[in-house]
Symmetry: C2
DNA sequence: TCCCGTCAACTGGTCCGACCAGACTTGGCC
DNA sequence: GGCCAAGTCTGGTCGGACCAGTTGACGGGA
């Protein structure tokens, strides 16, 4: 809200869904709790019931509530039942949960980055390598804004994933992208000029060119690890 | 339930959303194509426009279409935009895409299994190890039905993930579970008595007990690799 | 007293038809 | 030919009606 686009032109349904989502993820509504009926919510928010229904459908799609015809709509135990789609919500909610999940994300990112870099060293075509090279070069530019570095870093990740040809992994990167976009402020500190080191990317590209899988993987793992260490230091 | 019932009591909106989703994922509707207007779809499917709207909202939540007020609703380049929620559909679609994604899944599963096993060897508590032991023992029973072996194998995976304490990974396993549940027939061949080898799990548990991270990881990676090899042989 | 079936009063699901609001299309004006 | 305005497409919101499962209170029978 406060940052990124003062949300001027959101749908009615979208606005209400966000409100309720926040209530759920932040714990004001606990798993098992019943939401007010659609008719009551419509009255409370002074909108039509159709809009409330849309908001409910959205919450259901996010895996945050279960709707039962005839029964009440209840908050689900989303950590055990929802899929990755609730992730952005979890991070946006901030707080303790958000931070621990953020660390989990970086841990997993390191694993995947390493894997992709190794694959890339084995089978990257010249055009892909050129794109990686270009991205690494731009990452090394002085006076790069944190937000730009973040965007380039994501592009680098995506390019690596594209090289592996693993479509499932590609879908996963989209989840990561959603998180980056929705809660960029959680990531920007690691891209500050005084802590971000573009050397990892440069070394990775060099290793990929040299077909050195191990070195490429190590470089990207080191990149993710540095973010993880920074996060741990900040929260400590 | 377990066998995925021929969709007996789905919503109108849900039914229509599934139909369209399938059309999109299977390529009958290509990225960039405009869907018919809500009013036209309502007429074609002989339902109210509200129901069509709900179906549209669902497709949008899945990342399959983009809705623009005033403009047409268009199919997105979903592989580049959708999240993991379309995965089950990709597999169910069968055909070339389904098989290649299945291979991707096994590849990724190997990576994650190996990672989790290594972590488990480093930090598993006795109770968790006992649960893994029990699961491995049951997997080794003679005359195990493929479906039972599949269920146990999934439980083993989940238990490993729980040991890592990575909540994000836990959410990912839920996605895997959804796939297993929705298209079990795609996985059962690898659990047939004559090809399934429970030795990988047994060796992994032994390695975890011995705190041998490398051996534990290798055992689980070998498990996933054997599935991948079988898949490649079948399609070849 | 206790159990069980009935039914009213919830809940969400679908429908209708109207109107608002943004975005394209078209045609006439310059 | 190029530009702008009106018309008519699109989705967005409304409200009010009715259908369809669930729930639980209430009353009658064992």
């Amino acid at each position: 809200m406060r940052t990124r686009a003062a949300a001027p032109k959101k749908n009615v349904a979208e606005r209400i869904a966000s409100t309720l989502r926040s209530a759920i993820v932040k714990g004001r509504l606990k798993p098992g709790d019943a939401l007010p009926s659609e008719r009551e919510l419509a009255e409370r928010y002074e909108v039509n019931r159709s809009s409330i229904r849309e908001a409910m459908k959205r919450l259901e799609a996010w895996g945050l509530v279960t709707i039962r015809h005839g029964g009440a709509t209840r908050v689900t135990e989303f950590l055990m039942n929802a899929g990755l789609s609730v992730l952005p919500e979890l991070l946006e909610a901030g707080g303790e949960l958000g931070t621990s999940v953020l660390a989990d994300l970086h841990e997993l990112r390191g694993l995947l980055l390493g894997f992709c870099a190794e694959r890339a060293a084995q089978r990257a075509d010249p055009a892909s390598v050129a794109r990686l090279d270009e991205l690494a070069r731009r990452l090394a530019e002085p006076r790069l804004k944190p937000a730009e570095a973040q965007a380039l870093d994501y592009d680098f990740f995506e390019q690596l994933v594209l090289i592996t040809g693993n479509q499932l992994l590609l879908l996963f990167t989209k989840v990561v992208r959603d998180i980056y976009f929705r809660a960029p402020e959680r990531f920007l500190p690691m891209y500050r000029g005084d802590v971000f080191d573009a050397g990892h990317h440069r070394r990775a590209v060099a290793a990929i060119k040299a077909r050195d899988a191990r070195a490429a993987g190590d470089a990207m793992r080191a990149h993710a690890d540095s973010a993880l260490r920074l996060l741990r230091k900040d929260t400590a």
